[in-house]
């Protein structure tokens, strides 16, 4: 039984091999139709990759730009009297949906310590659980020596700062190892190269500014700001006025916002405002949906036109070679075999055409520097082109299979 099955399988394989061989030979025989079919499929693939593929690439870039950290952030603002403190960071530490969390204490106005009456800029202590260097993003920190030298040159040296000063409900940051100014803050303070010293307007305490900080997207709303990375001591929670939590993905923003709200531990929740980037998320979804719909329509149109062209070419081929199909029928080819032969022929031609078209279009996109679609998109376009051509070939193939030998071969 198994031997019979094996023999049947081998026989089937031999038939398929013979059909493929005959289809390829027929394709080589009908050169004009074959070249036309390959060209149509190649152009079809190239058009899809150059239009829809490029759109998908651009769409990915746009959505990716919208889906940056700013769109995933939840910002909690609270006055010191609301009771929000650095303990919230510990409560958020184990939430897997959270990418990062940073808290800022109350703002203290500072000016350039080198001269009185300069522009005021907020200085905020910054707390994180896992940021040993303190800065939330890449900094352009100048050498520590430069900052130290600048602080030494200031009228009120850092060494003389009294610890833990406070004014009203605003905690004054003290005992910072260094502070960093954003580019806008450095400009406003008149700090050349972001190095120098600042002095608190309220307390007169001076801090050495050691460099510039490049604020990430989710902290841009604080700009201009001087950030004072501060060691987090969970045993002695410090007041927090701004908490910025970044969700792992934009889809999780709402859930993370709910989580954050639930663990704030406030004494007066009425004083707190929680802002999410839901609007940006909605914008991203809208852009994605609109570009996606446009891409789908365009792809459907291109493939539809391509299918019609392949069908037209094959119909022409069937008309031109009707004697050939009549002869095949007369010599013993069944209708299904003729359909199989033509479909195989088109599949072989479409495969070559789609590979050529996708390759050429990808090279063109690379050369022009346009956004590239993903490999899976290009592969899908190629497969879809082959399937479209095969589907378009079925009707002409059926027509070819019904050629009557008597009408096609009989010589009057």
């Amino acid at each position: 039984m198994a031997r019979a099955d094996a023999r049947a399988a081998v026989a089937s394989f031999e038939v398929v091999k013979a059909v493929v061989r005959e289809a390829v030979a027929s394709a080589c025989g009908a050169r004009v139709a074959s070249i036309l079919t390959m060209t149509v499929v190649a152009v079809l693939c190239a058009v899809v990759v150059l239009t829809t593929g490029r759109s998908v690439g651009a769409q990915n870039a746009i959505v990716s730009s919208i889906s940056n950290t700013a769109t995933r952030s939840i910002v909690v603002r609270a006055p010191v009297s609301a009771g929000l403190d650095t303990g919230v960071l510990a409560r958020l530490a184990n939430a897997s949906e959270i990418s990062s969390a940073v808290a800022f204490g109350a703002a203290d106005d500072v000016t350039n310590a080198a001269f009185a009456g300069g522009t005021r800029v907020s200085l905020r202590p910054e707390y994180t659980l896992d940021r040993p260097t303190g800065a939330a993003a890449a900094t352009e920190t100048e050498t520590a020596a430069a900052g130290a030298a600048a602080a030494a040159a200031a009228p009120s040296p850092t060494a003389s700062v009294p610890p833990a000063a406070a004014t009203g409900d605003r905690a004054i940051p003290t005992e910072h190892s260094f502070v960093e100014a954003s580019a806008a803050a450095a400009r406003a303070l008149g700090l050349a190269d972001g190095v120098g010293a600042v002095s608190s307007v309220a307390s007169g305490v001076s801090e050495g500014v050691e460099g510039r900080i490049a604020l990430p997207d989710d902290l841009q709303f604080l700009d201009p700001v001087v950030v004072a990375p501060t060691a987090l001591d969970l045993a002695a929670p410090q007041p927090v006025t701004v908490l910025v939590v970044v969700a792992s993905s934009s889809e999780q923003v709402q859930a993370v916002a709910a989580l954050v709200t639930s663990v704030l531990g406030l004494t007066d929740p009425a004083k707190v405002t929680v802002t999410t980037s839901a609007q940006l998320t909605a914008l991203r979804d809208s852009v994605q949906a609109q570009l996606g719909a446009f891409g789908h329509s365009l792809t459907a149109l291109v493939f539809g036109v391509g299918a019609l062209m392949v069908a037209a070419i094959l119909s022409g081929l069937v008309v031109l070679r009707r004697t050939d199909f009549g002869r095949r029928r007369a010599l013993g080819a069944s209708r299904s075999l003729i359909v199989m032969l033509l479909v195989c022929q088109v599949a072989a031609l479409a495969t070559v055409g789609s590979l050529a078209g996708c390759f050429a279009a990808t090279i063109a996109l690379i050369l022009t520097g346009d956004p590239l679609p993903t490999v899976s998109f290009v592969a899908a376009a190629a497969v879809l082109a082959v399937l479209t051509a095969v589907a378009a070939s079925i009707a002409p193939a059926v027509v070819a299979s019904t050629r009557d030998p008597l009408r096609e071969l009989r010589v009057a």
Partner: protein
Amino acid sequence: MSRHAEAVLEGVGLAFGYARDAFVFSEWSERFVPGEIVALTGASGRGKSTLLYVLGLMTRPTAGEVLLGGHPVGSLSDRERAWLRATRLGFVFQDAALDPARTILDNVVETSLYRRADRRGSVLRARGLLERFGVEHRVQSRPGQISGGQAQRIALCRALMNDPQVLLADEPTGNLDQASAAVVLGAFRERAEQGAAVVIATHDGALMAQCDRRIEL
């Protein structure tokens, strides 16, 4: 060969018309036994070629039945009739009907696909037949590069590939010189002696004279 031998091919009450009530032939019955060569003759338009296509299972008669090996084939499916054409019948067309895009060898071997024969063995047999009919040197040529006589001999090779029980030929010598016609007729006679029934539609008086029987349409 006795007319009373079991018929390998038989037409019973056959009729065919291209239009309703306009029959090319009707109520036509005949038996073809192994070993004989039969000439179908008659004036042009009497349906010789059409009858040959009907007997060759290429088209269905308007009325009547064709029996192959004693079995009626009218109720068979297209696939079954195609299989019979590929395995038990051979056909030589009036104009050879070779595929102009393929080589001579491919043209002869083509039928092996339809009867699912081993290609390697078919190529060997095709080369043998082409050699026997003196056209082995043209195996890689295209039909457009050979003469009418060579084309007809190649068509004959193709028809003989499956050792047909019935060999049907439509004006096989119509475009041939005397020598080529003699080669073709010799092949028919040899095939008949091997046990096949040969039916030839022809106007050629010389060919008719060589046939065992003549049927006037």
